[in-house]
Amino acid sequence: MADKPIKGEKRFFVTGNEVVAWAALAADVDIMYGYPITPQNEIMHYWTRLAPKYGRKFLQTEDEISAGFTTCGGVFSGARAFTATAGPGNTLMQEPMSMAEMMRIPAVFVITQRGGPSTATVIYSQQEVTLTCFGGNGEGMRIVYSPGSHQDLYDYTIKAFNTAWKYRFPTFVLGDGYQAKMRESVIMYDPEERGVQMEPTEKIVGKEGMPGVDREPAHLRNTYNTEEELNVVVNELVDAFWKAAPEIVEHQEFNCEDADIVIVAHGVVTRAAQAAVKELRDQGKKVGHFRPITLRPYPIEAMKKAIAQAKEIILVESAEGQLDKLVKAELYGSKVPITPYFRPGMGITSEEIVEFINKKG
């Protein structure tokens, strides 16, 4: 086995796709499965360059459905495995993702959102929030991280593998085309040196010993005969998910304590929101920012506290209300009005947020 890919801490200046490939290496990932689609291609590209040097593997499949299922298969064999996709590929991959929910398969999926619907653009959007959180014919028993910088991409890609294997739910890193393609600085490190132990993996199929004699038989099913039987299983899934949720939820707050207006934004848009808060505070306006890092499960308790004194929420996203829907469902009953600032498939700058808030008066 080759040396550790990252020793100590080192500053890099690379694209987000390269960050993800390095993070997966640092997280001791055994194999990536994938099918090319922009803007995630370079994750595969860098992985295939780096992986052989460190004894890791790669399999290119014939499409995204297959990439998703082979990832699940890899996980069944006890491998720390992931795949990456975007846009129409994310749509196709919903079936294996759904199976991962049903069978509690700790697979990791990296999504680099592009414009939608359909082929649309290969550039950028936040239009895959609903699909990533709730796609498939299930209940959205998925863990979804929304990174906002290269540092987040590194930290949360590593974390995604631990979350997946600890809680046994499919885990997603929901990036976007901007983060995938841009270059900025990032500190990479060996997780172990920071006291982060990788959750051990184990075989799910083909465990050691004779089933029924040496160990309990592994009973892996995603097909059920009766409504009652399925209902019991889904209830167990849902209970397990919500029991784990308080340990999983993450968020960040910026000047919310005394804010009249709280900007809610996630992913790369948090950068514009943070800069807007700074600018508006300099202008003497009481503005704060709440950023959910986990979109699923949603950090609702923290958000309720953050908006307790607010007179208004400004919901800012590069989609036509996908985060907005999440927030409204969670905040049902709250009297704080929500004003939308939706730019589907387009980037958002701090200047635009500042101007919008100032114009509102």
Partner: protein, 189 residues
């Protein structure tokens, strides 16, 4: 130098705007500054205007793209038209004087408009291959986001392996860098 700089570099595919942007941000990062660079990218394999969005600052940078640039460099007629949207009254707009038929399209709201003969200089004085390095020199002189010295180090890092084989190339590239800076310096006098 404390100022945050937003730079939009636009040209035709093959003019090297993306590689220039790449070298500048590498150099800035090597000097311990924060830099962010994102190319425009689409479904086309060729054709279309290539734009590099570059930001350099002392603190972490916000949105990857921006609405208005401090400096816009446009290297073709289509690029001149395409980049007008990034210009406001604080923008320095630089374009190549060899571009024809854009007189009417030059931004009227820019703080300064410079026409530099980079294409001519590359063709007649140096070598067409170093056109993008001339542009790099011009960008650095106009913004001072990095020193010419650190630009040279960055070029060395990127092209050093070629220079080993042919040391004349190093000289040619460094000349091109100085020349590009000189073309802008005339305006800044």
């Amino acid at each position: 130098m404390a100022k945050e700089y937003k730079i939009a570099l636009a040209g035709e595919g093959g003019q090297g705007v993306q590689s220039v942007a790449g070298i500048i941000v590498e150099a800035a990062n090597d000097n311990g500054r924060e830099a962010l660079y994102i190319p425009n990218f689409g479904v086309e394999q060729r054709g279309g205007v290539s734009i590099a969005f570059v930001q350099i600052a002392d603190e972490k940078i916000g949105s990857p793209k921006f609405k208005k640039a401090d400096i816009v460099i446009a290297l073709s007629d289509r690029s001149v038209r395409r980049t007008a949207q990034y210009v406001d009254e604080r923008t320095t707009f630089v374009y190549d004087s060899a571009i024809e038929g854009v007189e009417e399209d030059l931004p009227k709201n820019a703080a300064k408009v410079y026409a530099i003969p980079a294409i001519d200089v590359a063709k007649n004085e140096l070598h067409p291959r170093v056109f993008n390095i001339i542009i790099m020199g011009a960008v650095i002189e106009a913004t001072k986001v990095i020193t010419l010295e650190s630009a040279k180090q960055a070029i060395e890092k990127k092209l050093g392996y070629k220079f080993e084989q042919d040391p004349k190339l190093r000289e040619l590239n460094f000349q091109a860098l100085e020349k590009g800076a000189e073309l802008v310096r005339q305006f800044n006098k």
